[in-house]
Amino acid sequence: MPPRRPRSLLQPQLQLRNELTYGAPILSPARTPILAAVQIRNFSIIAHIDHGKSTLADRLLQATHAVSERQARAQFLDSMDLERERGITIKASAVTVHHTFKGEDFELNFIDTPGHVDFAYEVSRALSACEGAILVVDSTQGVQAQTVANAYLAVGGGLELIPVINKIDLPAADPDAVAMEIEQVLGLAAEDCLLVSAKSGQGINELLDLICQKLPAPRPSVTDKLRALVFDAKYDDYRGVVVYLRIFDGKLRTGDRIRMMGTGRTLSVTEINRYTPFTERVKELNTAQVGSICASIRTLADVRVGDTVTLDSDPADEALPGYEEPMQMVFCDFYPATGGESEGTGKRADFEGLREAVEKLHINDASFTFEVQHSEALGFGFRCGFLGLLHMDIVQERLEREGGVEVVQTAPTVSYFIDLTDGTSIEIHNPADLPDPARIKAIREPIVKLEIICPTENIGDLIRLCDARRGTFKTQRFVSETRQILDYELPLAEIIYDFYDKLKSITRGYGTMDYDIICYREDRLVKVNILVNNEPVEALSLICHRDSAEQRSRNILTKLRKQIDRHQFEIALQASIGGRIIARESIKAMRKNVTAKCYGGDVSRKRKLLEKQKAGKKRMKQIGQVSISQEAFMAVLDQGD
């Protein structure tokens, strides 16, 4: 499979703009009569994490009387525990409210977006269901990496932006400076920024008015055949998959037989709902409207975000643009935790328990992949692919929290393309799958465009960090007098390896980053084999850059040396590239394991002790003559070496 065309935040997807916003210039009076009597505005809120997006959403619902004070529970739209805890919106929803502006009734469809870079594709789909977006910036934090990334994504999608400076009630608020940053970095006029406190409600009515006034009306139908964009899908225990749609052309009714143009599946619509934000059953959705459908879909794997829904009986000629298969960039293994690790937690720690949990979670989140993996060292588990690092963490947490299993996660790797001497290419995401070196012409790895926003004083250290991670300097710009944007290109493999923690520590928490995959690029990548007494241990092999191979190998060997018990003989630990040894360690022969005292009162206890040793040894993995415990493998494979 060839690599997917890379997405770039910095290269606006122009074709998208042309298609979806066709014929809908801002507040075009000539177009207005074509629409239904009610004016419609479809919009999203975009922001860097923790800049107050969810609070603002709540406040908007309240101000339109969609939710009373009493009903308002904090962050209404985020429904999962995990989202609340992390303050991240993982899955989008759409809410319809009404607002009267200049005597006219406006239907406002608020489309929630995922809040993290890993879900950039989902964000882009949600945004393409909108004509406008509210860009929220925290008045105490200023423009951050995801502010920029999201803003570019929205502009790239042809959306009109309303810049909003939030949290102006805080003592540390500096709205003027933040407005200047917005102008400097995003090119949105500082004077257009609206000052808001989602907490106190200040500026909220002005914002509602501005949404009606400034955001474009949806474009009219360009065809009478149904075309609706799937911008999100969620799994509901009672109703199966709930598919969120934005109708671009035609209309959709309950009972319609529909076709997913991307997957080719046909389904019958059993119900249509809108959210106000309480579920409201409706009979149909018209052009420009937003809502959800149920169609007896049992798993999220059957629905693709970005797909186009049309009528099976009268299908559209062409799907809406922008559909992509989700692409997993980061991979790791999950194994059931064994022995001591799960004791006392009441969680399951067996493979079958893990399988159930993974399958159940996949119904809810089809964007991760999984396949059964058998490791000689760790037994049965799953190799899983994720959109990014955060996605990986979320899946692990959900497996443990919702699935009730205790898992052990191996260090993440990226996917590689291997160009073979016969002219073909294969994709691998496990060092063990690398073909014979003689057949390899080149190994290509994913490269990201990285954008860091940080205090000016940290620029030097961050440049050193990026350079050490094989980065290529691109640009450096000022956000304000005290902060800068640093652009780099560097391999994804270098980011998943302890990069974010380093960034945070260098900038004492003030730095933020965002990245997007831009291409696959060849580099001097090598497979490092780890050998225990000359036996290769496939589970421990890794792919890394030739220049860092020694360092990485030494780290692994040092860990291994501490984890393997002494044996009757000296054990050689080696790392090799091809046949060449690049690092070595040794474990001295065991000198002593003897029960010094064994008298009458000791017999039972000593026997049990020895039996325990024997049982422990039985559970160990034999690499040649060497016994290695699963715990030892875990310690080496565990994240962060």
Partner: protein
């Protein structure tokens, strides 16, 4: 106070307040033991050492006399179980010599009578066969803290027929004794040896401990030389064991105590082997050396997987596959008269018995007779053990001569590797 046994007894389901615990008499019903020895535990100590996991404590109320009265009744009861005079009686602790001399004498007298050795005073080992009713050599051992061996105690021991004394020296270096929280004065050891010899007790064992935190190879060599200078008939040299539930163990856990390097400990052991060999001591068990034939007959019963009776709180006994441990609390033991309540009892399946026979028998430097090995391999699990033996022979951990199977001398320090495969 050793608090753990109490905790573990409380933790046993249904063992509340000892009500459900059987007596020794009960658990031995139906068994056909042939007791060859008796062990008596005297729990009193003047001080609790940090490495010690034996049941012992500093008695705050004087219960010595009650202890002795109770011991006398247990001895009378046990005598009925013995089919022949015992081969050995071993009085350990705690510190048996903490008993006041008259009480010590009564205890020893009761044990001697119970063993079938008659009421009369038996003298040194030379007279054993002449005065005894059995042809078996009789060994009567008492453990002693060197500080407690006064002339009076030495006389009581001799007059009671004790012919062997085992003394815990551990080290002759004050700083190492301090590391173990031992309170005795190293200079009291030669004095105690002299007092015992003056009373005709010449079979004397000295316990030494090596691999004490902070010790060097030179320290250990000096300890060995100091011990040899006293010309004991028997030496036990133990690598320090960090027993769970001891203060020493906890201090290692918290990092307050740093164990010495494994390689240094191994060198210390090898040093003991070579030094004692050239001094004329025969190495006969992993941690034990003797001059001539003066091996510890009592411990040989253990390693031969023989039967012995257990007296006193927390003492353990073995009766043809039944291993038991008396209740550990002095109070509980005093109240169950004449048969002790049993804290733990294990009736071993034949496979476990076979495993134990190997685990114990191969501790002897001379190993096990091939006929005995063949006998054990004829039991269930024989094929598995035979394969394990073959593997250990080929890797050089075991050696076979014409008549015996033993752990190879170079592999003694890693003997657990072999023993665990034979369980």
């Amino acid at each position: 106070m050793a608090s753990l046994p109490i905790l573990s007894s409380a933790a046993r389901p249904g063992a509340a307040a000892g009500a459900a615990r059987p007596t020794v008499e009960r658990i031995l019903q139906g068994a056909r033991p042939s007791f060859r020895a008796a062990y008596a535990h005297v729990p009193f100590c003047s001080h609790k050492c940090h490495y010690c996991d034996f049941y012992s404590f500093v008695d705050s109320e004087d219960r010595q006399e009650r202890f002795v009265i109770r011991m006398e009744s247990e001895c009378r009861a046990a005598a009925a179980l013995y089919q022949a005079p015992l081969q050995s009686v071993f009085v350990g602790g705690g510190t048996p010599t903490m008993l006041r001399p008259n009480l010590l004498a009564r205890t020893l007298s009761a044990l001697r009578e119970s063993a079938g050795w008659g009421a009369g005073v038996s003298a040194g080992p030379g007279e054993q066969n002449a005065s005894g009713t059995s042809s078996q050599p009789r060994e009567f051992t008492v453990e002693a803290n060197p500080d407690t061996v006064t002339e009076e105690v030495a006389r009581v021991l001799a007059e009671s027929g004790v012919n062997r004394v085992s003394m815990g020296c551990q080290s002759f270096h004050p700083h190492l004794l301090k590391a173990l929280e031992r309170t005795h004065n190293p200079e009291s050891v030669p004095l105690a040896v002299e007092r015992l010899r003056n009373q005709g007790i010449n079979n004397i064992n000295l316990d030494l401990i090596f691999a004490i935190p902070g010790s060097s190879l030179a320290d250990w060599e000096a300890d060995l030389q100091a011990a040899l200078k006293l010309e004991p008939s028997h030496l036990s040299c133990y690598g320090l064991v960090y027993e769970p539930n001891t203060p020493l163990f906890l201090r290692r856990q918290t990092g307050a105590v740093l164990p010495i390097e494994e390689d240094l400990e191994a060198s210390m052991y090898e040093l003991a082997r070579s030094t004692l060999a050239s001094a004329g001591y025969g190495h006969y068990e992993i941690s034990n050396w003797s001059r001539g034939e003066q091996r510890c007959q009592h411990n040989l019963v253990y390693w031969d997987n023989g039967d012995w009776f257990a007296h006193g709180p927390s003492a353990s006994g073995h009766a043809s596959g039944i291993r038991w441990k008396n209740v550990p609390r002095l109070t509980d033991w005093l109240e169950s008269d004449p048969w002790s309540l049993v804290q733990d009892v294990e009736s071993l399946a034949s496979d476990a018995r076979t495993g134990e026979a190997f685990m114990l028998g191969l501790r002897l430097i001379g190993g096990m007779e091939l006929s005995r090995v063949a006998e054990l391999l004829a039991q269930p699990g024989g094929a598995r053990r035979e394969a394990a033996i073959a593997e250990a022979l080929s890797s050089g951990l075991l050696e076979r001569s014409e008549s015996r199977l033993r752990i190879a001398p170079h592999a003694l320090l890693v003997s657990d590797s072999v023993l665990c495969t034979l369980l």
